[in-house]
Amino acid sequence: MKLHDRGSSLKSLNLKVRHAITKVRWRESLWDAMYRARQSRAKALQEFKDPVRFRVEVRHIKEKSIEDLDYLIQNFIYNAKKKGAKVYLAKDALDAISYILRLLEEKNCKLVIKSKSLTSEEIEMNKYIEEKGINIVETDLGELIIQLSNEKPFHLVYPAVHKTRKDVADLLSEKFNIQVKNDIKDIMQAVRKILREVFLDSDAGITGANVAIADTGTVVIETNEGNARLVSSIPKLHIVIMGMEKIVSNLDEALKIIRSHPVSSTGQRLTTYVSFISGRNPLGNVDGRELHIVVLDNGRSRLRYDGWLKEALYCIRCGACMNICPTYSVVGGHVFGFIYPGPIGIPWTASVHGLDKASSFAPLCISCGLCKEICPVDIDIPMMIAKVKYLSVIKDGQQLTNRILEEYEKVYKLAYPIAPIFNWIVRNKIVRVVMEHTLGLDRRRPLPEVRYETFVRWFSRRYVPSVKQKRKVALFLDFFSNYCYTEIAKRTTNLLESAGVAIKIPPQLTSGYPYVAYGDINKAKNNAEINVNSLYQVIKHGYDIVSLEPTATYSLKITYPKLLNNSKESVLVANHTHELFEYIHMLVKEGLIKLRCKTDGEKIIGFHIPCHQRALSEGRFTVELLKIVGFRVKIIETGTCCGMAGSFGFKKGPLGYELANEVGKNLFSMFKDSGVDLIATESNICRIHIEQGTGLKVIHPISLL
C-alpha cells in the first residue's frame, strides 16, 4: 500500500514536470521574472551599509518573536482590543472559516472585496465564501487575473506572470462583456473602472497582514497598487486574516521587517504603500464600522517545537527563494507547490497541509542550497526540505534509484579493481538500456569512468619526498579525485609539497551529501560522524583540512555542524576546513608558492561557479589565481544552478536527466555564445553536465596552474 502511494505520486509528478517543460512561453516569462527580480534585489541590497549585519538583525527579530510568541499574542490581543478592534484566535482553518462566515452572515454581506493574502489561500477561504452565495472579488491585479481564469498562482509575487497582455485583455473582455484592447494602459483603465464600482458597493473587505505589532495592537499591510488601502477603508466591515507568526513586539522591529521584505521581493526600498492600522477609523457618518482580526494557528504553534522545521515560521513571504530555485524556474508554481509554492512551500505545506501534499512535490528540490543563500532571514530551507523528505522516506520508503545513487562509493570500491571491465560495461549501449530499466539511470548520461588505482592507493605506495614542513594539510578527497580524476589530487599534492606542506590522507568516507538530497538523514549523520571524528583527530595535531570538491567542502563547513547539532568537533572541523584554491591563494600570499605566468593571455577561460561554492568563496580565489598565471577569465552564470545537482542528473526521465537539461539550457547557451576557449570549474559533477550540454572542453582549474 505504501509503495503504491509513493509510486503513483511520483508518476504524477513526473507527468506534470514533462508537461510543464513543454510550456515554453510560460517558462520564458517566468525565467524573465525571476532574473529581473534577482537583479533588482541585488541592486537594492547595495544601498545597505552592512547587508550581512542587517540580515542577522532581521533573523534575530524573527527568532525572538517566535520564541516569545505566546506572550506576544496576548499582548497583541490586549492592545488591539484597546484600540477597538475585535480579535479572534482561530485554532485551525475551519475555525477561522466559520468565524468569518458567521460574521459575514451576521452583517448581511453580499459583496466582499479582497486584497492579496496567502493565508486566506492557505485556508481556501474564497471557496467557502462563494459556497454561501456571497460574491467575493480579488482586487489585486495578479490575483484577479487568476481568479477570473480559475487558476492557481504561478509565482508568489507575480501570480499571473505567465499571462500575456493579450491573454489578460481577452479574459477581461469575456468576463465583463466589454471591449478591452490588447494594450497594458487600456487594460489598467478597464480594471480601474470595473473595480471602482466593486469597491464602492462592497459590504466587507478582507485583507491579510504582512506584520503585526504587539505593543500597539497594529496590523501592517504592504501594497503597491493601492487596492489594499481601499479594501481596508471603504467597506463597513474590515476583516484581517493573518498567521500568528506575523506578530513582532514593537514598531522598530516591524520597521526592520518592512524594510527587508520589499528588497528581496521586488527590489524596492519599501512598497508604495504601507498602512499601519490600529483599531477601526470612522468614515463620515457610517455607523457600526468594525475591524475583526483573525489570528490563525493551523499548525503554527506546534511547529515551534520542531528543532529544524520551526524556522519555517521565520519566513517573511518575500518569494526570493522561488526567484533563485532552478527547478522552480522550469516548472513554475502550478507544479512546484500545493498552495504555498517554491522551496519554502515544502516545509510550510508539510506543516499546514500535511506530509503527503508536501511529498507530492518535494522531490523537485535538488538540494543546491541557493534558497538559503538568498533568503533575507537566512532560513535553512534546504535542511527543512531534507527533513520533509526524511519524513516521507519513513512513511513511504525510499526510491530504488535514490538508494543506488546514494551508495555510489560502495559500487566504485568494487569497480576499481576491475576498472577496464567496469568502464567498458558502463559504456556499453545494451547495458545502459538495462540499467535504465532496472536502476533508473538515464542511458544518455555518461557514468564516470574509474581508474585502476585510487589516489589513496597511489599516495600510500609512492616515495614520500621530504618537505620543509612549513604547514601540515590533511586532504579531504570525496569521490571524484580518489576514484576517477585522480590527477586533480596528484597535482594538488605536488603543488602543496613544493610549497613545503606535509600531506596526510586521514581515513574518510565521501561526503555523503546525496543522503541529504534524498532524505536519508540518518545515513548522512553517520557519514558526518565518521568523517568529523577522523578529521578532528588530525586537527588536534595541527593539520589544516583542504577539501577538493565544493560539495564536500560545503558539507564539512555547513551541513555537518547542522547534522551533528553543532557539536564541538563538527564546529572545529568546519572552521579548519579550506577550499583548495582558498588555501593555495593563502600560500601564494605567504610567498610559499610562486606562480609563473604560463600563458600569453590569449586563452579565455569561462569560469563556472558550482552552487555549493556560492555559499563559500564563490570561486573568487580561483579566478584571481587564474588571472595571475595569465589567463583571461570570464565568469559565465545565470545566477542559478546548472541543473546537474549531484546525482540528480543521472536519473532517468523528467525528474532527472530531462529536468537537469532544461535547467541548464540557458547556461549552456551562454557558454556557447561567450567565445571562451575552455571552461573551468571545481565541481566534477557540474563538469560532466556542462561538457555534455555545451560540447566544450571542461577542466578542473588545478590543471591550469
Binding site: 477597538g84 487575473i145 503597491n224 488601502r229 471603504i234 508604495t272 490600529s278 477609523n281
Partner: protein
C-alpha cells in the same frame, strides 16, 4: 547627513525616482499659488481636502474649483484631485507619512487620480530609524483612539502583467509633494 538642504535633495531624488514630483516653496502664499497652478494645468474641476489651511481652500474656491471637505467614498470617487497634509517625510526611502483618525482622510490620498501633499521642510527626516521616534510620538499622542499611519512612496503601481511596470492603478496616478520652507 545633517544639513537640511542635503536631506531635502535626497528626498527629492528618491521621491522622483518613484515617479513622484517634488517642489520647494517659500511661504504659504507661494504654496497656495503652486497648488492652484498644478490643478489648473490639469483641468481639475473638484478637489477633496483634509487638514489644509483655510487660506488655500479660499484660493481654490476663488479659481472656481469645487472643494469637498468631507463625505463618503462615493462622493470622493467623483473628485479629480485630493490634497492632504503629511506628518513628515523620510528622505532615504522617498516616503510621505500621513496619520489619520478618520478614513475620509485616507481616501483623499487614495481615491482621486491626482494627489497633492503638503509638508514642512523641517519635517523631512533622513532615515527610517529617525522616522521611528516621530512615529512613536504620533502613537503617544493618539492614546487609545483608532489610528491609521500610512507610508506613501510615489504613485500607485503594478508589474503584474508581463512584468511591465505601470504607474497608476487603483491609487493616484500622480503624487505631488509640496515642501514649504517656512
Amino acid at each position: 547627513m545633517s544639513k537640511v538642504s542635503d536631506i531635502f535633495t535626497l528626498f527629492k531624488q528618491r521621491f522622483e525616482e518613484l515617479a513622484g514630483s517634488v517642489y520647494l516653496v517659500g511661504t504659504e502664499e507661494e504654496c497656495a499659488m503652486l497648488v492652484k497652478d498644478i490643478l489648473v494645468k490639469r483641468d481639475v474641476k473638484s478637489v477633496a481636502v483634509t487638514k489644509v489651511k483655510q487660506k488655500l481652500i479660499l484660493e481654490l474656491l476663488d479659481s472656481g474649483i469645487e472643494v469637498l471637505r468631507g463625505g463618503d467614498a462615493r462622493r470622493l470617487s467623483y473628485v479629480d484631485a485630493g490634497i492632504s497634509l503629511a506628518e513628515f517625510a523620510i528622505a532615504e526611502t522617498g516616503t510621505i507619512v500621513e496619520a489619520s483618525h478618520d478614513d475620509y482622510e485616507r481616501l483623499v490620498s487614495s481615491l482621486p487620480r491626482i494627489h497633492l501633499v503638503i509638508l514642512n521642510l523641517k519635517d523631512i527626516v533622513h532615515t527610517l530609524e529617525e522616522a521611528s521616534s516621530r512615529l512613536k510620538e504620533i502613537y503617544r499622542r493618539s492614546g487609545d483612539s483608532p489610528l491609521v499611519v500610512t507610508f506613501i512612496s510615489g504613485p500607485s503601481r503594478t508589474g503584474d502583467i508581463e512584468l511591465r511596470l505601470i504607474v497608476g492603478v487603483h491609487g493616484p496616478h500622480e503624487v505631488h509633494a509640496i515642501v514649504q520652507a517656512k
